[in-house]
């Protein structure tokens, strides 16, 4: 699977077009796109978000997560693109695309990749409101989401 960690935006349609170019064996394309929200769970408005990452390890971790997904489901490829740097509400943060002959594998693999990415890929969000800036706390629910994958299907 293609892995990219970049500051630039990505084009979802172009990524799908590249992944499927010249192929007629793909039956399902699932995409997940994560966006910058303009509100915190506490209700405060967010004006800006900065994503910090660990260059090198970020790419390695994303590749390892995708490899684990490919061992678990019959995938025909896909991609993970994660951005870093300053972002504003509405901007795209992350793209996961999974390809498979049938939809269930593609849906599940995309969810699996996102669940593991949230807790294991070295990225950190800092949010800015009008008054303050602060590092986003990791959510217990994100770790919980990974537990469901510990059971083999």
């Amino acid at each position: 699977m293609k892995i990219a960690v970049q500051d630039q935006d990505f084009d979802i349609a172009a990524e799908i077009r590249d992944l499927c170019a010249g192929r007629t064996d793909i039956g399902a394309v699932v995409t997940f796109t994560g966006l910058v929200r303009d509100f915190q769970d506490a209700g405060q408005k967010i004006h800006k978000m900065t994503l910090e990452h660990f260059p090198g390890m970020a790419e390695k971790q994303l590749a390892a997560i995708c490899e684990a997904a490919e061992q678990r489901w019959p995938l025909q490829g896909g991609c993970v693109i994660h951005r870093y740097g300053p972002l504003t509400p509405g901007e795209r943060i992350v793209l996961v695309v999974t390809l498979s002959p049938h939809r269930q594998a593609a849906f599940e693999a995309a969810e699996y990749i996102m669940d593991w990415l949230k807790t294991n890929a070295p990225f950190w969000k800092k949010e800015e409101t009008t008054e303050t800036s602060h590092w986003v706390d990791a959510k217990d629910s994100d770790s919980e989401n990974c537990k469901k994958w510990q059971k083999k299907p």
Binding site: M57, K60, A121
Partner: protein, 83 residues
């Protein structure tokens, strides 16, 4: 050895990375954190709550009891919040 700090820990300490000769008394990552924590109030702030510290040795996630050798790259960072 090379030590890297990210996100809140980088800000607490005031450094993104530093070079350090592995102190003779340090054999694992937990020992390195004990050593670093007593170097000043900024290090103390960064390391006093070990529950919210994650570790990578040579860019692979590691536990506090991971053994260390001089030449290792050790990274300290908070729980991850990407995606």
């Amino acid at each position: 050895m090379e030590i890297l700090y990210f996100a809140r820990i980088r800000e607490d300490i005031g450094l993104a990375s530093e070079h350090l000769a592995l102190p003779g008394s340090v054999t694992d990552v937990a020992g390195l954190m004990d050593y670093l924590q007593q170097r000043g109030t900024n290090y103390h702030a960064a390391f006093h709550n070990r529950n919210i510290i994650r570790i990578a040795v040579n860019q692979v996630h590691a536990a506090p009891d991971h053994p260390l050798r001089d030449g290792d790259e050790v990274a300290f960072f908070p729980p991850m919040t990407g995606g």
